[in-house]
């Protein structure tokens, strides 16, 4: 197969995943599940989707409920992109009732969201999974050198044609030059950040990530990067880290045992990758 042919094969595989897991496409599996919320109708799952929900379940359990694919509806109470952030507290209260992975019914019949208006969003998983699928597809076609980047998540195959490892820059939260470059070969790097969109509310700065247990924004790390075997596991570790306080995040990252870099709100750098890159406290 030619390189162009292979690229279009990868492209169509990624599009197929998007058609299944995007919450923005009306015909997707995720939209179907969401549309049937409260209707009593279960949605049957193929083994792949069933496994992704199982992964979501593990992330929910391991994070003490902080990673919750049903938490997306909380965004409706917050207006992040306005100059003056506002929160609709009465709406937040009613939206909170529609949040909770433990409410979701999963049986042999499939999956069902028992409350009207409840929604799931696989955005926190599907992108990383798609990158891993792309790597697999390329490897299966004999590709021995390659780099896949899907919106901040990077997966690499082998070395660069020059024989050097792939080099991936870590974006600085404040913009500008990358804070450093990490070398990857047959490994993936995932970055989650709270910096892309922030808000100020009653004198405090918040990131856009919401705590599903309270409905309020998380006061967590600004950015976390983790290197792992694949994008999905590296991404899971970073995402859960970003949902915690900086201290709890560092404990979580250390326990995971993967190379990590955390940037806190005061632009301090932490973790084994920070030492490696010669980065330190602010």
């Amino acid at each position: 197969m030619t390189a162009t042919g292979l690229a279009s094969k990868v492209q169509s595989h990624l599009e197929a995943l998007e058609r299944r897991y995007s919450r923005y496409l009306a015909g997707s599996l995720v939209s179907t599940i969401n549309r049937r919320a409260g209707s009593g109708e279960f949605t049957r799952l193929d083994p792949e989707s069933e496994t992704l929900l199982e992964v979501a379940d593990q992330l929910w359990r391991s994070s003490g409920g902080l990673f919750d694919i049903t938490s997306g509806v909380l965004r409706r109470a917050w207006r992040f992109d306005a100059a003056n952030t506002t929160v609709d507290l009465s709406q937040l209260e009613s939206l909170n009732k529609k949040v909770g992975w433990d409410k979701v019914k999963r049986t042999i019949e499939g999956v069902y969201l028992p409350i009207t208006g409840m929604e799931i969003d696989l955005g926190g998983l599907a992108k990383e999974y798609a990158a891993d699928c792309a790597v697999r597809l390329l490897r299966d076609h004999g590709v021995t050198s390659g780099l896949i980047e899907l919106a901040g998540d990077v997966a690499t195959i082998g070395f660069q044609p020059s024989g050097m490892p792939w080099r991936v820059g870590i974006r600085a939260p404040q913009g500008g030059d990358p804070v450093g470059g990490i070398a990857l070969s047959n490994a993936a790097a995932a970055t989650s950040g709270n910096y892309a969109r922030t808000l100020r509310y009653e004198g405090r700065t918040y990131g856009h990530l919401l705590n599903p247990l309270t409905g309020w924004p998380v006061e967590g790390p600004t950015s976390v990067t983790v290197i792992g075997e694949n994008c999905l596991s590296a991404g899971a570790v970073t995402t859960i880290a970003c949902l915690q306080s900086p201290d709890a995040a560092m404990a979580w990252l250390s326990e995971a045992g993967l190379p990590w870099l955390m940037i806190d709100q005061d632009a301090g750098y932490h973790g084994p990758l920070a030492s490696k890159l010669g980065l330190g406290p602010p």
Binding site: S62, R136, S233, A256
Partner: protein, 386 residues
Amino acid sequence: MSPLSGNSVFLRSLTRTLATLPAYQAGAALADAPPAFTEVGVRYSHYSEDDIDASSVIFGATSRYDIDITQLWIEAPVGANWSVALDVQNDYQTGASPWFVGTDQDGQPGVIMSGASIQDNRVEVGVTTRYFWADGNAGLNLSHSDEDDYEALSIGFDASWNTAANTRTWTTSVSNSSDKVNPTQGVIPVFVMDEELDTQSGYFGVSQILSRTTIVRVGLNYTYSDGYLSDPYKLNDRRPQSHERIALSTGYRHFLIDANASVQFDYRYYADSWGVDSHTVELGWAQHFERSTLTPFFRYYSQREADFYQVTADLSEPHFADDYRLSSYGAMTLGARWAINLGDWTFELEGERYWSDADWGLYDGDSAPALVDFWRGTVAIIWRFD
């Protein structure tokens, strides 16, 4: 474990869950890529038959066979798409076996044993080259086996390939073996010299991932042998010159995520042109631990006797045999396997106990006086390195 797989409980359980998705199946990837490491292994088994019940013996020793099996192998990648493997096996066999079944003064059948004098050593050397492509692999194997009284040369070809997004794996193999039988004269007289046996065998099977926790497989094997098929060390043994065998094998594996274990069920049906047919059922429970897997198993076997089998052979028939292995009987095996992974090293331990009894079988037939019970123990050490 690679440093990038992490070490937390969370990452380990996540890795297990992801392993059911084709995108993360290291096993599938390895199956279709030459081994990334060189593997060296040694395996030793001891097989020991219980003494035969003295009341079943008319004459001779009551001790039976002991076999020591030592296997050494090395497999290494060659270039981007090939691997080569060398396999050497040595079997050392000592003890006595039933020579023939006669009747005692009361008219009861009993065994005349060969005397505890048989010693035999067999050495088999095999070389396999294997080619890997994106969706499968194919191997060519040559092997030569030599012992005092038997020499065999065989060639085999096998292939396996994946379809349906790597959820289905097809496997096929064919082989041919040319054997020369030249029994040694010992304490028992032997009446054959320079006999030959040719065997062809073919297999076709498929395994299918049904869900992220379930896999099934089914396969059909056909074997045809032509030549000298009798046992030269038995007095009253004249078997047909050809032997057709067919076997249907099926397997089911179901992974239980909460228990971190898998249930294993295997069934095999066998039938041959000598009138023997058999059923084998095996149940196993593979319990996964952090660094090891423990699999206790139970196997039940039942066979129908060959058309020409009799407790005491009828020498007036064109074909006859009094070999207990051709009688109707049932057998049970209880055993356990334990595989331990420590980085580049894998240790395997296995033990099993086998009992057979004419009354345990599903089929009618007279009870052979020499049915066997045995122990088998195996230990293996495997080392993988760059």
